[in-house]
Symmetry: D3
Subunit: 319 residues, 6 copies
């Protein structure tokens, strides 16, 4: 008997199928005959399905939500709905050759390309202290940088979103510094690369770039103050000048501008002002683009929370 | 006797001098011997001096404040202060070859250069309706565009400030549209050129680019609504498409973003969002640059009203 | 067989009935045998019923929501609910003699009476420019004025509500001008008649006075700015004095008082102040009266959104 | 020697004059020869003058500020300014026949006329409990009602201003109740008469209607809560129905509408809503009228604090 | 046949049971055979059950919600759910020996203990006027003081919560007055005892300490103003000094501090400031303690409305 | 000739005097004969006087503002005012036996007493990590702790004010923890000692406890974030548990509660809530006590900025 790879929308009761899915939820339960089983919600781009792995033992593999799994099983029907009885399940491995972008929203550029873009701007920083601090902190981030999103649910909440957000800001910074040429590009590039870096410790993300929750430290301190602490520690390690350290800390501290959004100080140097504006601009352009993509010409969108509850209009005729 | 051209700081009692000055104040008064005279405050970059033109008649020339005059007279002393007794006075004419920039703050580029910059962007607009509306309104502005400041006392409150503000925004727009390439440049260039154009009717400015007051219509309606009315009228004259007209009106209406700053609607198209941000960015960069220019390394500036009452810091060591 | 006129609450399965109903919803669908049909929700004061017009062709009449129709058909039962199979359906015509007030909330006075009330106040305006501007704009409104409500869901959201709101304000204005006799009644009457006139283009209303949505222009510009544009255009057409034009525009612009409610300028002439207050007073009295009508003596109402989330009390004993 | 009655602007050094003045300030001081004297500032409509009553004894009459006095004395000159040496001074008595309106701003109607207006509306109240409570409190006010202003420095800060404010509101109430005829006039008239009555204990006013300061109780409790306490006490004395009492208390409590202006509860009955609006309307119309009276056609006024810092415009041409 | 006392979770269809329950809801309805019956929701700590008392007559006992009843009946099953057919029902009497704390949340100290605590602090008040006013008002409260909660749903919304809140504040006051020894303990103790006393008339509570609703007077005036009125009346009855009365009234009036929370005046004496802070502190500590009790170590709570929508964290390891 | 120690109010022209004064201002100027001199403003509790030290050389001692000096010189008179010609001047040394409290406002307890109070509470901390972090940071503070005020101009702006504020809070904490016994005293004592410790780097204070200005770091980061950084560094040095570190950082971060007062996070553990409240309480009690000390019975104070612009009342009769 041939077992076919199916997407969830193709499932039919009675068929045995193979497939790759995301673990959306997983819980260990006890059945009526007093045996333990795992109760999954599996999903792909076409839908979600309740799935059971019966009669597990304590030695059975643990599964984390928001990871990719390869599964074989039989589609059944129970109370008018399809259900999936799992026969085999394991985490996806590299050899499976699965393209993550088929399962989740991802940034429009490969992580490697964006990462080397950041390296390019890092190499443009001439001030040794700034460069050292930034390098120290980037080294410390490790792999996470390659997949972290920039948010849990707002703008850039996609796999690689943090890299995407950062590189777009760096490009805009470079261009605007040609016009506002009194700005110091070393400070600005350094500030941009570091401004959200502590989000990787504020939020807990799976390798799919999906954030399930904020960490305790993220809730008690927030990524802005956590970022300041990172610079403080890095500056001590690399022996940086104390004013340079202070300026980078100030830029991170002030990048949300408003106290009620987490910045106890507002920008007091021009580069901090520009950093804040590039950050906000990129967020809003991301949301605006998404809003007009989702509607037809001549239509208004629904109210969009992250755009100040505004609706967005797409002109009827192409201009 | 040789009469020398002097600046006010060079005045000495008893000397007869020639000079070019700005009329800061002028009032018609009656002297103790019941004759009418003009009581001036004349100024240049070096200071101000009280000046009298005695025994005038009703036929005598009228002088407006914030204009340049050529004056000859004698420096006197009265109650421990220097005073200037005017013998001859007339408005400056082109042949005098006076450089206005020696008397008042001016934009860093000549008006003609900035004007042709605007023409360059106008020529890039491909949509005929947008181009026609913008042209109709620019034609209507006449000479005033060449000298109007962009504000009475805030950012770009210099001769030619309106042109300077507009052209800088156009340049930034062009660069950022390379990054945010879903934006329509026709709409954005059109909106930028028109967004503050009604300031020329909201404020009364002398040809020196100094605003003495807001007009009545400026106070009762404001330049935002006045700008919308201009587009309405221009669109009728050039027979423009009604959606194009509406979009340009919306961009002008929304460009201050906050209702309490005069915008009853917030941006609902991406180009209006970008217009607002470029406008605000250019204002803040102007004020930030000015703030750091005015202080020494290692110093904090005074609180700056237009920067949200912030102080600005200039790093101690060059980075 | 006799066919009786029935209200929806009187429907019984198996009966053939005639009736007058409002089209609440209508959608063109395709049946399982691949024929097109219209799926209606019909309603009257007693309820709503799902109704089908089977096997339509492209030539069949189009029906708009929020219009009155005359229908004949058979009541059926499907899945435990009554359904209505339409045999004949057409828009109501004048000869049907249907009283709209039996189907929808209407203003307490006939449109014609309220309209002639407005004409009476128009005739009291002595200033020719004001009178001409108001007349020009009223002429331009056409029939819509006779049925438009003053709002989508708040105060005066009834058929003829705009006329009702306007005439009540005119009456209050006349009385209060006896007490505050320094007010100019020409300006005030003119301002009252025009203040909400652009609501007819801000909202899309059926002839029943039910607003289904805001227009695109209504959302991008709002009735306040649209009203100002109307005066600008009218003043040009009738060749009105520019100050008169400016004052009327200011009154419209300022009539919501608060920037966050759409007025970028607050009232700066006494008549604009009074206009704002009469507008607000009439809205609040409308809602207060409605609130106490809906509750028993000794009771508090629910929280009422348009009354600042207040509850309203009706005294236990008549005073 | 003839002694003439003079106004202060007519004073000339060396003349002996009689006059009626207001005591603006008075302080007991000790002269260089160690004698006590009274140092006055006396004023009338034409100006103010420093005045001395030398060598007083402890038995000498006490003078209160903001009272009228009859004075005889000699005008002297001291350090380039006129001074007034008082020879005789006493409080004005009725026989002097002085018209207070010559010295201070007063309401446009005589106190007696306004008082009988209030009595007229009191007699229109049919509900015995309301009438009894209002009468009890009015009786308790005594003479003060005849001269109290309605404020220290805002609207109706004139002699008799409280009566003027109250009667104007009663007239407007009567007219608007013809239009909004579901309102209970008994409650509304009662509420209007009582709403500011505790201002007579919140502020300390001289008989000239000039408030020198707020009382301690006025500062710690405020006239709104003090008014509620008055109704509580009056209701007990006259044995009024508890709901009637509660409604009147609520109307007083809610009449400033906003918590930050002193009303812990917002209006919850229509009559309380109307009371608040009539109160606010009368204040704003008073200030608007005053603002336009003080400027020329075509002019903008200064910013007026009590009008929300607005400027007011007076049209250039009569309409 | 033995009838057992059961909790609702122990109910089984077909059994006859006895029990003590709270009346959560009760409504008089008419059955299909046209007889009147009472439809109850009965509850205890283990759950709730729909219950019927069939065929009642007008003479039958009335039952109030939020009271305790003793019931006998039969458990039945209807549409897959248990129902309770009541045979006998009466209000609980003292002889039943039921402990209220088994049914509802109660303060951690017996009412009598807390009451005598208040008496202890009352006896510490040396100023006769303060003591007399407080005593007069406490006497007037009667039994209600023994069971009233301090709120409908926020902090101290438990039986005896008002006593608990008041006594905790008194203890904190005593301790802090040792540190801030310039505070007058007479005023402070008096103010604390009286500050919320009018809550007993603002909210309608059953003897179980459960508030079903706010009274009309509570909604129209609020417990703060009602408390001020109580002091006014008490002071007249006991003939207290007018300043003492005013200070107590001010303390009550100011105890919520913010106008939008009901205080038209902010504290202007140190004792009023301390009263406000003790009140707020006790509320917040109550909610904080409750929040951490309800979560596990290492967890964040849900957002808590009364704590400014904050989440609360319980440290992972004991410190 | 005897030279007497004089206060400034005792100065008489022509006398030679000795004295101890504070340097309020000092500036190096050049006299008309082109010699350098120091221009001082010297002060004591009785007043201030302009003073000159003529003909100084570059080797002359430098003087800092807000330090105590011993001075000998001659009182002169110049332009109707006294002036002081300095003959000898040096910084005060310990042997002078000057009591600082005679010159400036100081805390009511000696620094040593308050310091040992802090040590007492430190010794009560049982958790080793908390104790180590606090000790590490206190050691790092050095001498400054003995004289620093707690503010530049608000509450506790006196010599030793930081110690005074901290010890008072510790005492209140101890007492309230008896009542709210679920609070962890280790965390609370630790948080209190550390909460303002970075003020010593945020503000530049002389040894007299007078703050002349905020430091650059103080302005760019603020004492709250600087305090968090201190804990981060201390925790690394002493190898503290990461949760303990995080909790202390959170307590410091949240201690101003409101974002606009510098706290990006609000308290999320009960101890942080209590810390904030004790901090605020102590500040307000300090200001309240000061306000009533400065006025007479029966009087209202001026508006006090730090008390939310309130006025404070002192009862007329002692209670």
């Amino acid at each position: 008997m041939d077992i076919e790879f199916k997407t969830i929308s193709e499932f039919q009761a009675g068929k045995r199928v193979d497939g790759f899915f995301i673990v959306k939820k997983v819980e260990c339960k006890v059945s009526s005959n007093n045996k333990k089983y795992l109760d999954f919600t599996l999903g792909d781009k076409t839908g979600e399905i309740n799935s059971k792995l019966w009669n597990i033992t304590d030695e059975d593999e643990k599964f984390n939500i928001n990871t990719l799994v390869k599964v074989r099983g039989i589609v059944t029907e129970w109370q008018n709905a399809l259900q999936f009885k799992i026969e085999r399940i394991r985490e996806v491995i590299e050899e499976d050759g699965v393209d993550i972008a088929d399962f989740i929203p991802v940034a429009p550029f490969p992580a490697e390309v964006m990462y080397s873009e950041i390296m390019k701007y890092l190499s443009k920083i001439k001030n040794e202290d700034i460069k050292n601090i930034v390098e120290y902190i980037l080294d410390d981030c490790g792999e996470a940088l390659m997949y972290y999103p920039a948010a849990k649910s707002n703008h850039h909440a996609v796999r690689g979103g943090l890299l995407y957000h950062t590189t777009t800001m760096l490009k805009s910074a470079e261009k605007l510094c040609e016009i506002y040429d009194f700005l110091n590009t070393d400070l600005l590039y350094g500030g941009i690369i570091l401004h959200d870096v502590a989000k990787m410790e504020e939020m807990a993300s799976s390798e799919l770039g999906i954030v399930s929750e904020y960490t305790i430290e993220g809730q008690l301190l927030g990524h802005i103050v956590m970022g300041v602490k990172k610079v403080e520690m890095a500056a001590e390690k690399v022996g940086a000048d104390s004013e340079i350290k202070m300026l980078l800390e100030h830029m991170i501290l002030a990048h949300h501008y408003e106290p009620e959004y987490g910045s106890p100080k507002k920008p007091m140097i021009p580069e901090a002002e520009m950093l804040h504006r590039l950050d906000d601009l990129d967020a809003k352009m991301y949301d605006m683009r998404k809003a007009v993509q989702d509607i037809e010409p001549g239509q208004m969108s629904d109210r969009i929370w992250s755009l100040d509850k505004r609706t967005v209009y797409k002109p009827l005729k192409e201009i």
